[in-house]
Symmetry: C2
Subunit: 207 residues, 2 copies
């Protein structure tokens, strides 16, 4: 398959969000125009995004909602369930560990880790917080595919290096740090401060 841009994958994920909502509301078919409107894009973009992966929908009849959901889940790799470890059980880590959206989207939190002995043993959504020192042994045993980093900024790169050495190839980073990873490892960073600063910039420079 040729290289698919990140922005395309993000739109596919967004289309899936809407299609799931359409299905909950009992809709059986949807036009590319409706899908485009909900995703803030154009019909042409929707058709182009989907065309990377095959032929969907019937001219004039639109897309079958449940068929397109199944196709998008297949494309995005969501037919399998993905085991996830969360490193750092502070406010953000604990909130994520208890976030039900993980489970409903196919991501199972199999371990939560912290260096603070006071937090170890606490159960978050049924998953006990385990000592940080167990991380490598648990990755070997539980074979998580994704690590979510919720550690302080200065701890993020060392933790990333450890999970990569233990075999993890996909990381979602909430620490305020830009991380370097070897080729073949995908790291995505979500930074609250940056999101807020982009808003502050927009407000400051509003016409």
């Amino acid at each position: 398959m040729k290289h698919i841009a990140d922005s395309t994958v993000r739109r596919l994920s967004l289309y899936l969000r809407f299609l799931e909502e359409f299905e909950r509301h009992g809709h059986a078919t949807i036009s590319s125009g409706e899908l485009a409107r909900s995703g803030g894009t154009t019909s042409a973009q929707v058709r182009k995004d989907l065309s990377f992966f095959g032929s969907f929908g019937k001219r004039g009849l639109g897309y079958g909602v449940s068929d397109l959901i199944a196709s998008l889940r297949h494309i995005l790799g969501l037919e399998a369930r993905w085991p996830v470890v969360i490193v750092g059980a502070g406010k953000i880590g604990a909130a994520l560990a208890q976030y039900r959206g993980f489970g409903t989207h196919g991501f199972d939190v199999v371990g939560v880790y912290d260096t603070d002995p006071a937090r170890v043993g606490e159960a978050l959504n049924g998953v006990p917080v385990r000592p940080d020192a167990q991380l490598e042994a648990d990755i070997a045993a539980l074979r998580p595919r994704i690590a979510v980093l919720c550690v302080p900024g200065e701890a993020a790169q060392p933790v990333l290096d450890r999970v990569v050495a233990a075999g993890i190839r996909a990381v979602l980073n909430f620490a305020p740090a830009a991380l370097t990873a070897p080729e073949g490892v995908t790291v995505r960073t979500v930074n609250m401060a940056t999101e807020l600063e982009v808003l502050a910039f927009a407000l400051t420079n509003a016409p």
Copy 2:
């Protein structure tokens, strides 16, 4: 000022993160090369990003860390403090309300709102959760500039419409929904499911 791309603003915010770290470690100057390496970009990109806003640094001497921090804070609009309301005091809303990074970056949580009477009155980091019905009156009184939406997907658009009608022009949305806002209102969406799905896609389609 000419239009500055979102991606530029995000890099400026990232440079600020690193410069703050450099300053904590006692560094007085930094080269564009060092700044580029920490941001995963190139010296040329760093110089170009900064050139939009004036002339910084001295050839061969690099940038003064504290000067550049002050300049970036000015550019990003962080010399003022920004009052913020959080709508929705569930797991994510409560975690954000207690996130110390808000305060250290100049964002003050002035109100947290929920529709659940059981949550109203609870204090999150010293800010009591108030009834959702108070939102408009509080926006008029407290004049927050940014609203953070941590409500369920189907509630997000109605809440967005309410805060915009009350005068808010910048919104950070954590709800799993794509929102439409009138011109002049900046909405940024952080979607955990999408971030995870981008990782699942990368793992599924790894060479």
